[in-house]
Subunit: 300 residues, 2 copies
């Protein structure tokens, strides 16, 4: 079924122990879309400035990613991020960030996208997330991401958003900040009290935890021996998860579990190379093979 994502599109400069890439394509909506497209057609909504190289979007030329919702705004500049993982592959240090067009009004959702059933609201201001959500007719499953900044500065709006979504995806530090619980299982249960039916807490190289009223589910990360650039791992994880869910037509616990495993596997390709290169080098067949390998690596 139709899967829509709204989120950032960026020009990234990334340094890792393996090297450096200047001005490559990045942003939450980009990683999400590419990752999800292994499973389901994707409708991408986002905005860039006039400075964004058109060639960036060639990456989607052979993917089922509908870029009708991609706005190139005149007089604006594209979001830029320069990050470094040189000290610690598990935590990016932001060297420089320019919100640029992301600090302006949200992009529009094209009329032919408003019937989207599966929706991922990647991290942005919770007021924008609510506005975008309000434009959709009758979504079946809405999942959002958020970040420290909004938890700290826009808590009332974030709490309003949480009452309107089905699932929340966030990382361990964010979950602790949001709930003031140190223990992640406690934190996850506290998030459920705030509205979502399920919550997924991402722990980077340590995998993830999912909690719903009925279930608690834990997954290690895929045991990767090649980590080149972790940028976009969390968004690729969400993309793999939502892409798979969009093909299933139900959100049972069992389906969500399989979806998280697909998200984990897709993210393992993302981190194996810079920018989108890791994802570009894989196929759905490889993903399925690795999914089985992963299942095997923890079955007992």
């Amino acid at each position: 079924m139709s899967l829509l994502v709204t989120g950032s599109i960026g020009i990234d400069t990334v340094e890792t122990p393996a090297g450096r890439r200047d001005e490559v394509i990045g942003g939450s909506a980009i990683y999400f879309s590419y990752a999800a497209s292994f499973f389901s057609p994707v409708r991408l909504v986002g905005v860039v400035g006039e400075d964004c190289p058109k060639s960036f979007f060639n990456v989607f030329s052979d993917r089922e990613v509908d870029t009708t919702g991609l706005e190139t705004r005149k007089g604006s500049k594209t979001f830029r991020w320069h990050g470094s993982y040189v000290k610690d592959l598990n935590e990016a240090v932001t060297v420089e960030v320019d919100l640029n067009v992301l600090a302006e009004r949200a992009p529009k959702i094209p009329q032919n996208f408003v019937d989207s059933k599966y929706v991922f609201l990647a991290n942005t201001h919770p007021i924008l997330q609510q506005e975008l959500l309000g434009l959709l007719k009758s979504p079946k499953l809405v999942v959002a991401d958020t970040m420290n900044l909004w938890i700290t500065t826009e808590r009332p709006e974030l709490l309003k958003l949480l009452k309107k979504i089905d699932g929340l995806v966030l990382n361990d530090g964010e979950a602790r900040l949001l709930t003031e619980k140190k223990n992640l299982i406690e934190a996850a249960r506290e998030v459920l009290n705030l509205g979502p039916k399920f919550v997924v807490i991402k722990k980077g190289e340590h995998g993830c935890v999912m909690c719903s009223q009925r279930d608690t589910f834990v997954l290690p990360a895929f045991p990767a021996d090649r980590v080149i650039d972790p940028t976009g791992a969390g968004d690729s994880f969400a993309g793999g998860m939502m892409g798979y869910l969009a093909t299933q037509g139900n959100c049972s616990s069992a389906t969500i579990k399989r979806a998280l495993a697909f998200g984990t596997v897709v993210a393992s390709y993302t981190i194996s190379d810079f920018s989108l290169s890791g994802l570009q080098q894989t196929t759905r067949d490889h993903i399925d093979d690795r999914w089985h390998e992963y299942k095997q690596a923890m079955s007992f």
Copy 2:
């Protein structure tokens, strides 16, 4: 089959966010023995000083732990450790440590223990570990633990030990220090080059990784919402693992995997209360139930 453990026995003082306990029973061999005794009879070899309360060992009165190898050395004092987890439940800060009798000669292995088939050499000086191992007739499976101190100061002796054992259990920081590999999967494979047939890297609240030539296996920790005192979690994990292995008569990958899952579950009881109290409150039936719950929590 017969399972022997040699390791420390201590008088612990522990502070955690949940409170403080003064002069309670602790030490690697104690946690290991109690945890392993849910699965298999255990032969405990260790040494304490004259100051060690005899009542300490009442904890084993209804367990199949043979304390024949427990030496109370005249004129010596028991190993003491005072640790605090007040700042971070995942990392103990040592407030005070007195090696005392642990800095003296090793305890003897009783004659009726030398035929032991399963052996766990808990963390101590690698020369002592080799000596103790040399006293055993024909062990079937020998697994050792180690620590930063020996990796740094006794590397040649540790490397000799590694050539004589079947399995090594160590934590993530120790694995990185030993192999100079940051990536844990690379570190694990490097350990295999040093001798052991398998290596288990413990990641605390993030579970563990096992590598053998054939397999890579990852397990998250049991999703615990009650963590009172993490002391002894790693030793209980090893105890549960070895206790289960000792009942199986083979060390296939599948058996080791199930053993690691039992170790994980047993450790989840250890951390649920101070000192041995968490283990004392459980039973093999509870462990089996939680093992199935754990399996369920990550099956997809």
